[in-house]
């Protein structure tokens, strides 16, 4: 635990227990999404599915990176991950990104993906709102993750034809915003 760092956050008026609980729930959402996206990705096959596979894989890897980036902050603030993996899964900030009943329903898979990303965007917006101007390190981390989640949402939204935008797939390394927390 980073005692003084935690004190600074408390003094700024943030409820650290609530914040840590939110960080743990979002870390769970990231790791469980990494797992469920693995299943979605392997089912992205055929003429429709293969075109989406690459972008689903980038989102999957970046969600795992988000988990890795969140864990140190949880422990700095005096929190911990649950001992039990099942408990960890069940406290996720977002519902499971389950494979649709028809695994060949590519549009259905896209809807699961975009819904998962939208849940994440809401979650990190909430953390940013709680920490802005008060807990600079958590804010910086949550904002970096939020930037990537918004891009993920845009990618899947565009595949669903919800509207045009200027987003492109990653060019180069994954996690351009979060990578500074992984070094």
């Amino acid at each position: 635990m980073a005692r003084v760092a935690k004190e600074m956050v408390e003094k700024a008026g943030v409820n650290v227990n609530q914040l840590v609980e939110l960080l743990v729930k979002n870390a769970s959402a990231e790791l469980t999404t990494f797992y469920y996206y693995t299943i979605l990705r392997v089912n992205l096959i055929g003429l429709e599915g293969e075109g989406i596979k690459e972008i689903a894989e980038v989102a999957r890897i970046e969600d795992r990176n988000h988990f890795e980036a969140l864990v140190p902050r949880i422990y700095e603030l005096g929190g911990k991950l649950p001992d039990c993996m099942k408990e960890f899964h069940d406290i996720s900030a977002c519902p499971p990104a389950n494979l649709p009943k028809d695994p060949k329903d590519i549009k259905g898979i896209l809807k699961v993906l975009v819904e998962a990303e939208r849940c994440a965007v809401r979650g990190y917006t909430q953390i940013c709102n709680m920490t802005a101007g008060k807990d600079h390190r958590t804010y910086d981390l949550a904002l970096a993750i939020l930037n990537e989640e918004i891009e993920h949402e845009s990618w899947f939204s565009e595949f669903l034809g919800e509207g045009p935008s200027g987003h492109f797939m990653r060019r180069g390394e994954t996690s351009p915003f979060v990578s500074k927390f992984l070094k």
Binding site: Q18, P95, Q126, N129
Partner: protein, 77 residues
């Protein structure tokens, strides 16, 4: 459809095997089976058994997400 006062609503807090209900704009929603309302808590900050009309103004989502849970009644004075 049921009718509950705020006081009666507070019993439906999603803990101790009680169902979880919330109110918004005069309607009562059953959130018992929602993954996002396990044990009557939502994203750490919100508790079942309450009128969340004001709280939703600060939430990172709109009222459209309430369409995902059933309306079961109305909140009365």
């Amino acid at each position: 459809m049921i009718k509950l006062t705020k006081s009666e609503l507070s019993h439906y807090n999603g803990t101790d095997n009680n169902p979880g209900y919330i109110a918004y704009n005069g309607k009562i929603y059953n959130i018992t089976d929602s993954f996002l309302w396990k044990k009557g808590k939502h994203q750490v900050l919100h508790t079942a058994g309450e009128d969340l009309t004001e709280a939703l103004k600060e939430a990172p989502h709109g009222e459209d997400l309430l369409d995902r849970v059933p309306v079961i009644g109305e909140l009365i004075e």
